[in-house]
Each structure stands twice: as C-alpha cells, then as structure tokens.
C-alpha cells in the first residue's frame, strides 16, 4: 500500500424511500416533482398536533423472510434492503472479507422496537421480550446485519450525528478506503421512526409542519410560508470502492466520492447557527478535501428541511462558502418531496446528487412559491422546477449538505466520473 490516499469511487446505489422501492423509481419521482407526504390513518395521530408524514410504501415482508424480519427493527430492514440493492448494482463484487467494510448509520436507531419492548415488559414481564431486542435497539444494528450478510470483516461502523448521520457514514466510509483500511465499503443511512413519540418529541420543539389539511404542500424548503419539516422514513446505501479496486474488476463508476468536510456549530443543542458558520466550514473543507475550486460546483442538494431558521442559515452558508463562483450553480431541496428522513437524509440526498450529476439534471424544490426574503438576499439559485445543470466545464461537482440537531455539519463532494 502506497502512502498516497486512495481515490474513492461510487460503484453502486440502493434506496427504499417514501417515493419508491429503489433508486430508479425514487429518482424518476424526484424529477417529476412528486410529494410523498400523506395524512396518517393511525388512530394515535388524532391526539397529536401533526398528522402528516412521508412513509415508505414498500412491502418489506415480501423481501425479507419472516424469521429474519422478526429479529430486526424496521430501520434495520430498510437498511438491509437498500444495501442489497446497492451491492447488486455494484455487480456483487468479489472482495476479500478483511478488505470489506460497512458504515451505515441512523439518527434514532430502533426506537419503535424499544417502545414495543417497554410495553411487553410492563404487560407480560421480562421473559416475553424478544431476545433480539438489544440488536433491534442499538443504532449500529443495521451495520451489523449488513456486515454479517456480506461477510464484511474490515469493520462495521455507525457514526451518529442526528440528521447528518447518513452523510457522516458515507464520509467515514470514504475515510476507511483512503486510509487503506478497506477496498470496498457499503455506506449510508436508515431511519424508521414514524411513531407517536417521535411526532411528540419534534412537535414539542415546534419543528414539524402543522399543515395537516394539505400534506403535499407542507414541506416547502426556502419558501416564505414554510412552518417546519414533514417526517419521513427510508434508507439509502452506496457502494464506495477504491478506484484501483474498481478498475481491476472493470466496474462501472457512477461518480467519484471526491471529498468530505465535517464541522460543528458549537452553538445550540437545537438551533443552527444563524450565520451558517459551521456549514460554511464543512462546505469549504469538502472542496479543499476534494482539491476542487468552487467554480466547479454545478449543483448542491441542500439539507433544507423547511424550518424557519435552518433554511435561512443554510442559504447564507452556501452563499458565503461558494460566493460568486456559484453563479451557474443550481440548489435543490429534495426534502420538499421526500420529507425529512433524519439519519438517512444524507444518504438519500447523496444518491440524488449522484443521479443529478449523471443526468446533468437538478431535481425541483416543490412548493417554492415565494422565496423568503433572507433566501433572496443570499442570492442563491434554487430550482423550483427540474432544471438542466451547467455543462461544459470539467469536472462537474455536486455537493450534498447535511446538518444535524446540535449543529453537526457534513458536506460531501461528488464529482462526475
């Protein structure tokens, strides 16, 4: 192994999202501007101020045998399906087990399973708990299950940073390959927390949109009338591979995973720093890490969740970090369609950024009817409709921003293959 860091490429994509059972269906729905938000039919929703969400419609029981299904939380099931898809998309590569890693994170872990277990404990006693409760609860459970299925021995990791978890997991996977610890890493994030407690926790923070009578128009990043996010669920996984390993086996390269930047606001447990300082640092570090000038950035998939402070702070951060170099750059907020997938958001949005580079097409930011004054002042170019990306200058770079509750920021830089 030489001392020069390995170049990392993306060779496989997989996703289960509120918009589709896989990456092609999700990407088609994103380009078409479809919203996945709907009114919840569960009776528990009647007692909460928010009764809208973006659930996954995929029948997971048709994809995982019953004995395996009962041993995993829903977030782990979603992660496993996304990872299987990504692995197949990469051509199910032959990898030395000691050179194969997993980095799959979540924001909340198996919250649904632990709540169920708590009910069983109260009503039936400790002996009636599933012996798999610990596995279903822990936030690295998905990484463990995927690691076992693929026989990955280079390490299974789940870096947790709230809603930046999926992005951080991809960054960590890149770092594993660059540092020489692995040749191939399956990386991404998963979340499945459409539960009464989650709604209550976020509702009490006044973080959720209360537009209950109009779910499809509730998630409206950067719009003046935005009033909070719409909770979604799902999983995204990508196969990261050293360029050398991918070339050796003749793999199709979808994009170059060129750089990652990490930062923390060190400001507040919930609110993003209004001047976007932390995110500016993450964007600049991602570009420096990729050794790319900001002029090459043609697209940003924003974190923009549709909250008042968060969206404005991100617009300022993008403007400060890219400046005039971003004149031809198009920003999209796909959470307008998927809702906020928490710990899997960064993974799904990385996949969207990679697809955008491949097709030279930015997905729309639906419901952007009247951009907020602060956003106009930031001077960034947000796509309300699907738009063609600027071509002609090589390399073309797409960024995916993620920010987590507590001020954790991760920016990933992908470059056209």
């Amino acid at each position: 192994v030489s001392n020069r860091p390995q170049r990392v490429v993306v060779t496989g994509l997989g996703a289960v999202t509120p918009l589709g059972d896989d990456v092609p269906s999700t990407w088609a729905a994103l380009l078409a501007g479809k919203s996945a938000a709907c009114t919840l039919s569960e009776s528990w929703a009647d007692e909460l101020p928010v009764r809208i969400a973006a659930p996954v419609r995929t029948d997971l029981a048709a994809m995982i045998p019953p004995h395996q299904l009962r041993r995993m939380d829903r977030y782990e099931q979603l992660a496993l399906i996304a990872a299987r898809q990504a692995w197949q998309d990469a051509g199910a590569p032959q990898v030395e087990p000691d050179r194969l890693g997993v980095s799959i994170a979540t924001g909340l872990g198996g919250l649904g399973s632990v709540l169920d277990a708590s009910d069983i404990l109260r009503k039936k006693g400790w002996r009636r708990l599933s012996p798999y409760t610990v596995h279903m609860f822990i936030p690295n459970g998905a990484a463990i299950s995927i690691g076992i299925e693929l026989g990955a021995r280079a390490g299974v990791h789940a870096p947790i940073s709230a809603c930046a978890s999926g992005a951080e997991a991809i960054g960590y996977g890149m770092d594993m390959i660059r540092s020489g610890r692995a040749d191939v890493v399956v990386a991404g994030g998963a979340e499945a927390a459409i539960l009464p407690l989650t709604f209550a926790m976020f509702a009490v923070m006044r973080a959720l949109s209360c537009r209950n009578d109009d779910p499809e128009r509730a998630s409206r990043p950067f719009d003046k009338a935005r009033d909070g996010f719409v909770l979604g669920e799902g999983a995204g996984a990508i196969v990261l591979e050293s360029a050398e390993h991918a070339a050796r086996r003749g793999a199709d390269v979808l994009a170059v995973a060129a750089g990652v930047g990490y930062s923390a606001d060190a400001y507040d447990v919930a609110k993003a720093a209004p001047d976007g300082t932390g995110l500016v640092m993450a964007i600049q570090q991602a570009l420096a890490n990729a050794d790319i000038a900001p002029e090459h950035v043609v697209h940003i998939n924003a974190h923009a969740t549709s909250t008042l402070v968060g969206d404005a702070s991100e617009a300022i951060a993008i403007s400060r970090a890219i400046g005039n170099a971003g004149s031809g750059m198009i920003v999209s907020a796909t959470k307008s369609m998927t809702g906020h997938l928490l710990g899997s958001a960064g993974a799904i949005e990385s996949i969207a950024a990679i697809c955008a580079l491949r097709d030279s097409m930015a997905p729309p930011t639906i419901n952007l009817e009247e951009p907020d004054d602060e956003i106009i002042a930031a001077g960034i170019n947000i796509a309300a409709e699907a738009r063609e990306l600027r071509t002609g200058s090589w390399p073309a770079v797409a960024l995916s921003n993620s920010s987590g509750l507590g001020g954790q920021n991760v920016t990933l830089a992908f470059m056209s293959a």
Partner: protein, 101 residues
C-alpha cells in the same frame, strides 16, 4: 387434552420454522442436534422455548435448557411436562396474563 409425541414434534417443527427459518422437514429428524445440526443460535432457542411455554402453558426453567440438545430431548421434555402440568394451551395467552400480574 394431551398431545402425542407426533403432535408435539409437528408443533415444535412449526415453531422452529417460524422463529429460526429452518424448514420443518429438517426438524423431524429426532436425533438432530439443535446447535450443531440445525444451526439454531442460543437467542433463537430462547424464542423457541418461549413459544413452547405459551403453547403448553408451562414455564421451562433455564436449568432445563442444558439438557435439551436434540429434537428428541425437547419432545421428551414436553411430553414429561404435559403429564405433570397444565396441558396444551389452546386459548393461546393465559400464561402471559399470569406473568403480567
């Protein structure tokens, strides 16, 4: 109602198929070792034991587990507790209700 050996075996096979995903056809070999031949993990065994407890309305103490190595061991054990215990629980959940009090 007391179950015959054959009935206990098919009941056990069904439980193992549901909890561990092992086809019933493999379980009917009475001398099959639960760990070595069927590959059932200790956690899967906990699930199997709890399902048997629910089905037969009995409590199987942890001390009994070390002697349950083959399918035959489990079937014989369940035959034994049937004769001394409450018999199969056709209602399904009375043991759980007792545990909840």
């Amino acid at each position: 109602m007391v179950m015959t050996e054959h009935e206990i075996l098919s009941c056990l096979a069904k439980i193992i198929e549901e909890t561990a995903g092992i086809p019933a056809s493999k379980v009917v070999a009475l001398d099959a070792d639960i760990t070595d031949d069927l590959g059932i993990s200790s956690l899967a065994m906990v699930e199997i034991i709890v399902s048997l407890e629910d089905k037969f309305s009995v409590e199987i103490p942890d001390e009994a587990l070390k002697d349950l190595r083959t399918i035959r061991d489990v079937v014989s054990y369940m035959q034994g507790v049937q004769h001394s215990g409450a018999g199969p629980n056709v209602q399904g959940d009375s043991a759980s209700e007792v545990a909840a009090t």
